[in-house]
Amino acid sequence: MALEDMRHPIESGCPDGFQYMHPTMRKNYGMWKFHEHPRPGVLRHVAHSGDEIWTVKAGTQRILDVYSLRKLTEIGDKFADGYVRFTIRSNIEYMVTDEAQVEPLIKALEEAGFVVGGTANSVAMISHTQGWLHCDIPGTDASGVVKSMMDELIDEFKECNMPNRVHITTSCCQINCGGQGDIAINVQHTKPPKINHDLVANICERPSVVARCPVAAIRPAMVNGKPSLEVDEKKCICCGACFPPCPPMQINDPENSKLSIWVGGNHSNARSKPTFQKLVASGVPNNPPRWPEATAIVKRILKEYKEGAKDWERINDWIDRIGWPRFFEVTGLPFTKYHIDNWRGARASLNASTHIRF
């Protein structure tokens, strides 16, 4: 098609949400008084005007086929005035004004196979990324990992019997598009990239690949007559940062790309300031289709957290109180030299005191 015939985009940007918002929410915008949590998966928000919004939250497979999507809209039409929203964890929320609508709505959702829950002090829907399904650099899958884990954690999603919200995230490469989390399951490569030297010259802009390496382990080199790249394997920390700009730097490896588990990432400012997650386990096999080893560790941590933490303590709050030595003791996870940070600012992570846990 000739250029002039091409359609020019309307740069409308981010649409106004009000046009799709439930009228009661529009009416009471910014004038909400309080909320209650009548049961898992349901929130009752009351406005100063006296109006109420009952929210029913349901978990889905994040990646929806149009059938599932239409099923969700159909339920919305029947039971929820035709208004929905999605949460940051890809849960769907139906908002109704009349308590009477709640039970039928829940029934319809559950009959359709969706899972009502994920509110308050539950294990929230695990947020995930693309993985083998679509990304160009994944070390593992995303949807599959999450489906496997949610199958095991579904009761914790449906009931609210954790000390506080548990926000779990996953990422399918060390770039970590999934956020940090109370528990995070991430990829951890353990070997330097295998370089396909024949391709480097044509595919990779060598200087910018060199610049990508966090530890300056890459240098340009001639390999069998062709301009290529060389990695100092002593320096290489197997982060995979060189792979996206230069696919011949093959970092993904069926055997040596492992999973690692991190805990204590808390982004809310409630109580303590936001905290970064910390490494607790690594070398976990990347084991499709159901990744049982990773799930087992997650469940073990959740069990101890559930038993050991006080109400309202997030995982980081709990560990702050009992101390890391105790965390490793109760979870039975090994403490290794790899747990001792040696990255920038690592000094702040060392114990410069006699505060010892016995």
Binding site: P9, G13, R62, I63, V84, R85, L133, P254, F276
Partner: protein, 420 residues
């Protein structure tokens, strides 16, 4: 209808078991039941390639360059490295489409989007990706253009991909949350829609993300995950409904409120009076939200609302995860001028970023490299003790400008005093 070729998927079949909704079952429905053979085949190929990934534990997509006419970004192009084995899905691009602020939809609109996507794409869609975009996953180059042309006509635009301003996110906030101290939806649209050109035509050193949360609970992970985090808060005293406090204590007991509220305050700003009323030292309250979260009926934010702005959050590449740093402790957002000055600050920040960041360097990394003070001076923001956890610990700094800097501070304080 059905796909021409069905690939064996023994491993993926395992993911149809178990109580959680199965994406694989959804895929198979498209493969086996959808009336459009194009969709049956595309999804069949996708399943075949995915099974192959599961068996070999490797990914087989590579990037490329696909975009829609007039734009440089917004599409994540995918070409299969095993297209010969699974030709049906050898092109499988994703369109990133900006959601409405707050992620609201009518069922009608969702159905309409589904209709369009069935015409041009795989029938697979995600609400939403981690940056907040609707991800329409899986179409070829033509489908990309046609689908965009169609939905763009009824109000939808692409989001960001590549080194550009990215799609923004905000929490449900004012629409349904009593904690909200800000007009999240307005803030998100004021900000991101001021930069549509930078969203659609990647020309920055690297990506730049806005996220907006209505209160310090930060339900959008804005501090950790965005370059420019806007978070609602308040400046005056929090509101205490002492009657509700008493009710709370009647219901839960004194020790419950002591153990779960009083002793959890990070700054010991709370004390319980003998008459079961609550005493708040608002001067030492740091607006962490905890007590308001526990006592939703009794406690609420004050009336003098505004936002705190933090800059530089991001994930791992290339120096490790960074959280945003406070650069504006408190800013009122009431008048049009207030919003304009917010947008100006964002412009200052992005201009400085564009000029000073290295290639593929995020704002947080840039600040780490040049130092917070140089950044503040670059965007014309005055220093404030709320920007730090504590003053410097190391004497290794040249301070021969001390007197002038002290002067600045005293003048500012004098002006503030005069103003108030």
């Amino acid at each position: 209808m059905a796909a021409n070729k069905i690939y064996e998927t023994p491993m993926l079949d395992e993911l149809e078991k178990g109580p959680w909704p199965s994406f694989i079952s959804g895929f198979k429905r498209l493969r086996d039941e959808h009336p459009d053979e194009r969709i049956n085949n595309v999804v069949s190929g996708l399943l075949g390639q995915l099974e192959h990934s599961y068996e070999t534990r490797k990914g087989y997509w590579k990037g490329g360059t696909v975009s829609v006419f007039g734009y440089g970004g917004g599409i994540i192009p995918r070409f299969s490295e095993v297209g010969d084995a699974f030709p049906e899905s050898k092109e499988f691009h994703t369109l990133r489409v900006q959601p409405p602020a707050g992620n609201y939809y009518t069922t009608d609109m969702l159905n309409q989007l589904a209709d369009s996507w069935e015409k041009h794409g795989s029938g697979l869609v995600t609400f939403h990706g981690q940056t907040g975009n609707i991800m329409f996953i899986g179409t070829n180059t033509d489908g990309t253009q046609h689908f965009f042309d169609e939905i763009n006509e009824y109000g939808w635009d692409l989001g960001g991909a590549g080194p550009c301003v990215r799609t923004a996110m905000c929490c449900v906030g004012s629409a349904r949350c009593e904690q909200s101290c800000a007009n999240e939806h307005g803030i998100q649209r004021w900000l991101v829609n001021n930069f549509t050109d930078d969203v659609h035509r990647p020309a920055l050193p690297y990506k730049f993300k806005f996220k907006v949360s209505g209160c310090p609970n930060d339900c959008q992970n804005a501090i950790e995950r965005s370059d420019f985090a806007v978070i609602g808060t308040w400046r005056d005293d929090m509101k205490v409904d002492q009657e509700e406090v008493k009710k709370f204590i009647e219901a839960k007991g004194r020790s419950y409120i002591i153990d779960n509220v009083i002793t959890r305050c990070p700054t010991q700003a709370l004390s319980l009076n003998d008459d079961d009323t609550l005493n708040v030292d608002n001067h030492n309250c740091v607006r962490c939200m905890h007590c308001l979260n526990v006592m939703t009926k009794a406690l609420s934010p004050g009336d003098d609302k505004g936002v705190t702005i933090l800059i530089g959050g991001k994930r791992t590449l290339k120096i490790g995860d960074l959280m945003g740093t406070v650069i504006v402790p408190f800013k009122k957002l009431e008048t049009e001028e207030d919003y304009e000055s917010l947008v100006e600050l964002a412009e200052e920040t992005i201009d400085f970023f564009a000029e000073n960041a290295l290639e593929h360097e995020r704002t947080g990394e840039m600040i780490e490299r040049i130092g917070l003070v140089n950044f503040l001076e670059g965007i014309g923001v005055e220093v404030d003790p709320n920007m730090v956890n504590n003053p410097r610990q190391c004497s290794y700094v040249r301070m021969d400008g001390w007197d002038e800097e002290a002067e600045k501070w005293f003048n500012r304080k004098a002006e503030e005093a005069a103003a108030s």
